[in-house]
């Protein structure tokens, strides 16, 4: 039997509900257009909603993101599909695209779930929590994170044992194992690609020991440890739960590195490392923090001042590329590096190491476009056809790019790029011929 597909109409479809996608959608919606956001994850908010505080103003990221997210999710002109995939987009004509979308089942009736967490308590299955970047565990019946939007439960069906405990525990009877994927056909007039970026996988640089040494973390794991919705109540090293007091940052991990296939600079990692260093100085006043760098790229408004401020607070900056990280005693780590200022090979001991992993392109949107090719640049970012005078324009007329889908960017730049995409999409929608 052929499954029935539900047909819907919108002015614009935004693929990806991170800060860039959300901002583009909000701008379009405020101009009176009907917008659908298609997000593959369980919550909108992208990477930003997971961050601690943000440079250079040290605003709490949740405090800036949650109200935006809540404005987006309440907007009359915005429809959000989370846990959904865009299977294909076909251009039918000017200002007419047809997209096929699948909404994966959550196994929870969204309208009835109150987010009470009773299912979470009842579920006996524990797996790694991807939203805390594997620092702790979560259940198979779970609410993604405390400020998720929508803040409702989902069943991780791959790990679920179908024991039924959650179903019994749920006071509003909203767990439904019979839920099926829903297929939609959506007609839209324009598309905004805001699929964001991927983080470099540090397992690829074996000599840094990530995955082998427990006290080598990624910067995203450190973001989680510093966030208001943090997994522990303080900063801990994973091997023994000790509070670290000699922390190292390894910059350009997987960036500016031809051998890793990523020759470019990730644009954000110098700054987020300096930010984390400042936050750590606040959280652990006695700790020593050393940042090993090649160049410090503090280029934006207020950024160089922020860098100077970190120096003033006592963060040490050492110009030198880390060769290798080896295991020392009691979970400590030894960093071997070339100290550029003396030209000598040196070693230093630290009890926790943070790898400032870089930004990689997410080109998942490319195969979605069937009738016309969505071109990418040599690094697989969505290609900007006219980067200087029409930054949001892609190889397909009527398809615009927003945020880090076109290259590394920090939040202020992502938001401006999102505004640009919305303004170019509005102009396209208004055009008569």
């Amino acid at each position: 039997m052929e499954k029935e597909k539900i047909n819907l109409f919108f002015d614009a479809m935004v693929i990806g509900g991170g800060i860039a996608g959300g901002e583009s959608a909000l701008n379009l919606a405020n101009n009176g257009y009907k917008v659908i956001i298609v997000e593959k994850d369980l919550s909108i908010g992208g990477k930003m909603i997971m961050l601690s505080k943000v440079f250079p103003t040290l605003d709490c990221s949740a405090c800036i993101t949650t109200p935006k997210v809540s404005e987006i999710s309440r907007h009359n002109n915005i429809t959000i599909f989370t846990e959904s995939d865009v299977n294909s987009v076909v251009k039918m004509g000017e200002r007419h695209f047809r997209a096929e979308i699948t909404r994966r089942p959550r196994y929870v009736v969204a309208e009835d779930c109150t987010g009470c967490q009773k299912c979470e308590e009842a579920c006996p299955v524990i797996v790694k929590d991807q939203y805390q970047y594997n620092l702790i565990g979560r259940k198979a019946a779970f609410i993604p994170f405390s400020i998720a939007s929508p803040k409702i439960a989902a069943i991780d069906i791959e790990n679920c044992t179908l024991c039924g405990a959650c179903e019994k525990a749920c006071p509003s009877n909203c767990i439904d194992f019979t839920q099926k994927a829903l297929d939609y056909v959506i007609d839209i007039k324009s598309v905004v690609v805001a699929t964001g970026f991927k983080l470099f996988d540090p397992l690829k640089i074996e000599r840094y020991g990530f995955g082998k040494f427990k006290n080598v973390l990624t910067s995203m794991q450190m973001e989680r440890q510093l966030a208001p919705t943090r997994p522990f109540n303080t900063i801990l090293r994973p091997s023994d739960g000790k509070v670290p007091d000699k922390i190292a940052y390894v910059l350009c991990a997987g960036s500016r590195d031809d051998s890793e296939g990523n020759p470019i600079c990730s644009q954000i990692c110098c700054m987020y490392s300096i930010k984390q260093a400042q936050l750590l100085m606040g959280a652990l006043p006695m700790a020593d923090i050393t940042i090993y760098y090649i160049d410090i790229r503090a280029f934006g408004k207020g950024y160089d001042e922020f860098y100077e401020q970190a120096k003033g607070m006592g963060v040490s900056f050492i110009k030198g590329k880390i060769g290798k990280i080896t295991k020392g005693e009691r979970g400590d780590l030894t960093l071997r590096y070339e100290d550029v200022s003396t030209g000598k090979i040196k070693e230093a001991r630290h009890d926790m190491v943070v790898l400032s992993v870089g930004v990689l392109a997410n080109d998942e949107a490319v195969p979605m476009f069937r009738s016309n090719t969505l071109l990418t640049d040599p690094l697989n970012y969505i290609r900007q056809e006219d980067p200087i005078i029409s930054p949001a324009k892609t190889s397909i007329e009527g398809v615009f790019v927003s945020g880090t889908a076109s290259g590394p960017m920090d939040i202020p730049d992502s938001i401006l790029s999102a505004g640009a995409a919305a303004s170019q999409a509005t102009a396209y929608l208004k055009r008569i011929n």
Binding site: N31, K151, I388, I389, M409, S423
Partner: protein, 575 residues
């Protein structure tokens, strides 16, 4: 009407609750006069709590709300919106800031922070007892925007506004459009020249009926407010002559895109103005562009080697320009690439403070390295020294990259890689009273939430006048600012805050003190009841309160900040 107040105390995920005992705050206000319910919450601004507030308001028929959380700058409008959605007029909402004013300010004194938070919340409750419903002031908005400055940001903003259907006046003080872009040989990441880009930009706007281009014009004054600004323009086509009539335009929003100036080095800074052969990056680009022979000839000799000194006028240790100018590392490398392409045998030195070719611009840096350019990094506090010896320029520099070795090199040209500074005689800022940041560029309201808006309602900013940006970044901000200005003017109607001052006609003796005190020219005099009294223009008044204390007869009150309300709040605070 009997007041029924709901109070929410936010933990801000620890930002507040790490220092302020919010449970104690809750206890101490429970049972306060008119307080019907008091709750604590992890994130008051989060979706879950907003829903909770919504249902509380409806279920308990609340008619006053207090949220004790962060600064009202961040979330006053968030919680007003919650009230409104729940069917309660938003002016019944009162904000208490216990983060910036209690937890963050007193992180070293937890009991003290808690005590202060309690008082702040009680004062807010005292204010909420007076809170009443108000209607926003509705005004008509002109469906037009003035864009000031026709560099790449201004042109793109004008084009975008026009494409969205707004009428645009594009005002440029020079006789042609394009601004600083006209001086750029090659605009990375593309291979076009600045002039070619400007040509394409002019094409984009030349047939736009919505755009009135006014080159050779400056604004001389501006008045009015959001929705209804009046700008006076003066032509300055013929220098020395003042024969252009003044022109007035009337717009709903003003988009400022006045750009930047290149830092001009001081005489003697690295030999500038003293040694021939020491030039700025812009001057060097011109020199290079003018070459049409087989060899590079300048200053009466063949140029075989060029040294670029970075961060001139930026990242200053002693001077005021502490900021990094963002564009110049890549711009200098681009010029060096242009040079080695034209004259492959040139020796090129880059004297940097750490190269900031962020993002994809790193590829330019790699290419320059591949071509054999020599990169040297000098210590922040020990800049290179320039000397002249027998018609040659000698550079002495310490190089961090080779263990602080002293290097000496001979060169024919020294290029000072000058940064961006705010436009020196930009009167736009003073006409509209635009606030500036530490770096003296115009300041946005919030870098992430409202990056193109200024503290002056209706005035947006785009491009490098907000801070250094390259061409592509300027366009992003221009399009974002256009979207903002468009949203202000597109419906033709605007709602303004009703929190304005009003005059008690009986008490007013028209002494003129208030009108002198008002920074927004909102007060004029009218004749009424056979006497002169002050009249306040509701759509110009910003509710700043400057007029209140100067009035000798106490004739002025501010809506929602009346003397009675403030006195009640002070009574609580001084308990």
């Amino acid at each position: 009407m009997e007041k029924r107040i709901g109070v929410y105390i936010c933990a801000c995920g620890g930002n507040i609750s790490d220092y302020v005992d919010i449970e104690k705050v809750k206890e101490s206000i429970t049972g306060e006069n008119a307080v019907l319910l008091a709750k604590t919450t992890m994130f008051a601004c989060g979706d879950a709590n907003q829903k909770d507030m919504d249902s509380d308001i409806r279920k308990n028929d609340l008619n006053g709300i207090v949220v004790a959380s962060c600064s009202p700058k961040l979330h006053l409008s968030t919680f007003r919106a919650v009230s409104e959605r729940a069917g309660l007029n938003k002016y019944n909402y009162v904000h208490a800031n216990i983060r910036e004013q209690a937890s963050w300010a007193h992180s070293d004194d937890k009991p003290g922070a808690t005590e202060k938070a309690i008082l702040l919340v009680k004062a807010a409750i005292a204010k909420a007892r007076h809170a009443s419903s108000l209607e926003p002031i509705k005004i008509k908005s002109k469906k037009s925007v003035a864009v000031i400055g026709a560099g790449i940001a201004g042109i793109k903003a004008a084009q975008a506004l026009s494409a969205m259907g707004d009428k645009v006046y594009l005002i440029e003080k020079e006789s042609k459009i394009g601004g600083n872009l006209l001086n750029i040989n090659r605009v990375n990441p593309e291979s076009e020249t600045g002039e070619e880009i400007v040509k394409r930009l002019s094409k984009e706007i030349e047939n736009e009926e919505n755009i009135t281009l006014l080159t050779g014009h400056r604004i001389t004054s501006g008045s009015g407010n959001i929705g209804d600004f009046v700008l006076t323009l003066k032509g300055n086509n013929n220098p020395g002559e003042d024969n252009f009539p003044e022109k007035e335009i009337n717009v709903g929003s003003v988009l400022v895109a006045t750009g930047f100036e290149s830092y001009s080095p001081l005489t003697g800074e690295y030999g500038y103005g003293q040694l021939p052969g020491v030039v700025t990056l812009a001057q060097f680009n011109k020199l290079l562009k003018g070459q049409n022979g087989m060899s590079f000839v300048a200053f009466g000799k063949e140029v075989k080697s060029v040294a670029f000194i970075y961060c001139v006028g930026s990242r200053e240790i002693k001077g005021d320009n502490k900021y990094c100018s963002r564009y110049c590392c890549s711009a200098a490398i681009q010029s060096a690439l242009d040079l080695s392409e034209r004259f492959p045998d040139s020796d090129i030195y880059h004297l940097t403070r750490g190269v900031r070719s962020y993002g994809k611009q790193e590829l330019l840096y790699k290419e320059a390295n591949r071509r054999g350019d020599l990169f040297i990094q000098f210590p922040d506090k020990e800049p290179p020294v320039i000397e002249e010896k027998d018609d040659k320029i000698i550079i002495k520099v310490k190089d961090i990259l080779s263990g602080k070795r002293e290097l000496e090199a001979e060169t024919d040209i020294v290029v000072l890689v000058t940064g961006m500074v705010p436009v020196q005689d930009d009167n736009t800022g003073s006409i509209f009273k635009l606030p500036r940041g530490r770096d003296k560029f115009y300041n946005e309201i919030h870098m992430k939430l409202r990056p193109v808006e200024t503290a002056i309602d209706g005035v947006t900013i785009a491009g490098a006048c907000q801070g250094p940006k390259n061409a592509s970044e300027s366009v992003n901000s221009a399009l974002a600012a256009a979207a903002k200005s468009h949203s202000l003017v597109s419906t033709g109607e605007l709602e303004l805050e009703p929190i304005v001052a009003y005059v008690d006609e009986d008490k007013c003796t028209w002494c003129d003190e208030c009108s002198k005190a008002c920074p927004f020219n909102a007060i004029s005099v009218i004749e009424m009841f056979q006497k002169s009294i002050a009249r306040i223009n509701k759509s110009t008044c910003k509710g700043c309160g400057m007029c209140l204390p100067v009035c000798p007869t106490d004739a002025i009150e501010l809506i929602s900040f009346t003397n009675k309300e403030i006195e009640d709040m002070i009574d609580v605070l001084s308990q």
